[in-house]
């Protein structure tokens, strides 16, 4: 920096502009090299029969079908095959973050999702349980993903459940 230009371009103003440009450049370069997906995750959501949040059924007749919507979000760093498994469970045997419900899978749905893609689909699930009067059960939906390295379905640790009270059908069905 020669003195010849200091009368025209103030040194401090120039330094401030330069500092802003340096910081902006460093930030931009960091954005270019940042990991594309630093926190990969999957998600499952339960919606009512109109595919909206809330207004879920709280009572069902034994033997009836319940219509709900399932939402799945793939925020992994790759496309994947997801499987939703429907189980009926008592409140003591719902899944955890690490273990799926020990109950038998009654229905399953398989969905392929691209990276960062999601889907919502309607399901109609049967509620057939041996009940004492007004049993409280959980309709459980677990999310599994197909692991390409082991070629097997792996529980993601994500699930949703809906507690319903099951009543004997008035028609005796």
């Amino acid at each position: 920096m020669g003195c010849w230009k200091m009368n025209l371009l103030d040194e401090e103003v120039f330094a401030v502009i330069l500092a802003i440009i340096v910081v902006g450049s460093v930030f931009s370069i960091a954005m270019i090299f940042r990991p594309e997906n630093p926190e990969p995750f999957t998600a499952i959501g339960l919606l009512n029969e109109n595919c909206k949040i809330g207004d879920y059924p709280s009572t069902v007749f034994n033997g009836d079908n319940v219509t709900l919507c399932i939402f799945i979000d793939n925020h992994l760093d790759h496309a994947a095959l997801f499987e939703v498994r429907y189980k009926v469970s008592d409140p003591d045997h719902i899944p955890t973050n690490t273990t799926p419900s020990p109950n038998t899978t009654l229905v399953k749905w398989d969905v392929f999702l691209d990276k960062y893609d999601n889907t919502t689909f309607k399901v109609s699930v049967p509620v057939n349980v041996s009940i004492t009067n007004a049993s409280r059960i959980a309709l459980v939906f677990e999310l599994w993903v197909l692991d390409s390295s082991t070629r097997s379905l792996v529980y993601t640790g994500r699930w949703v459940h809906l507690y319903v009270r099951v009543l004997e059908s008035p028609l005796g069905g």
Binding site: K5, F14, I29, D77, L81, D110
Partner: protein
């Protein structure tokens, strides 16, 4: 005698059908072979999408093949897989080159952005001066 001729003709027909192998392989497919093909396609799709390549056009076919496999219709699944696997394999061969050029673009952009402060430091004062003089070149000093 007639029975013997009918039996010979029947056995020859059966032999011809099975020796060509088309009857079984095209309609039913071998369960393990088809599953293996499907998993190979799945592995390729996962690898390619991890690399950032666009594989969305293959997903419906892969889903359809999976649905057929679940239903036990191995022949139909194999037909779909035979159609998509060559394309997927070709894309997989291009993966390394794709990743190289993707990284090359990133580095080039970073170098360009990184050089901006240096260019600004050297050239801005000169450009500023030039503009300053240009704007004032017709100025006349008043009495």
């Amino acid at each position: 005698m007639v029975l013997l001729v009918v039996f010979v003709l029947f056995s020859q027909t059966i032999q011809v059908v099975f020796s060509q192998g088309s009857f079984l392989s095209s309609n039913s497919g071998d369960k393990n072979v088809v599953w293996d093909k499907w998993f190979r396609a799945y592995e390729i799709v996962v690898e390619l999408s991890k690399a950032g390549m666009n594989i969305s056009s293959y997903l419906p076919s892969l889903q359809e093949a999976y649905d057929y496999l679940e239903k036990g219709e191995y022949g139909s699944a194999e037909n779909i897989l035979d159609k998509i696997l060559p394309g997927l394999t070709k894309l997989y061969e291009e993966k390394d080159s794709f990743v190289f050029w993707k990284n090359f673009k990133k580095v080039t952009l970073a170098v360009l952005i990184g050089s901006f402060p240096v260019l600004f430091y050297f050239f801005f004062p000169r450009i500023y001066l030039r503009i300053w003089y240009k704007v004032r070149e017709k100025w006349v000093v008043g009495k």
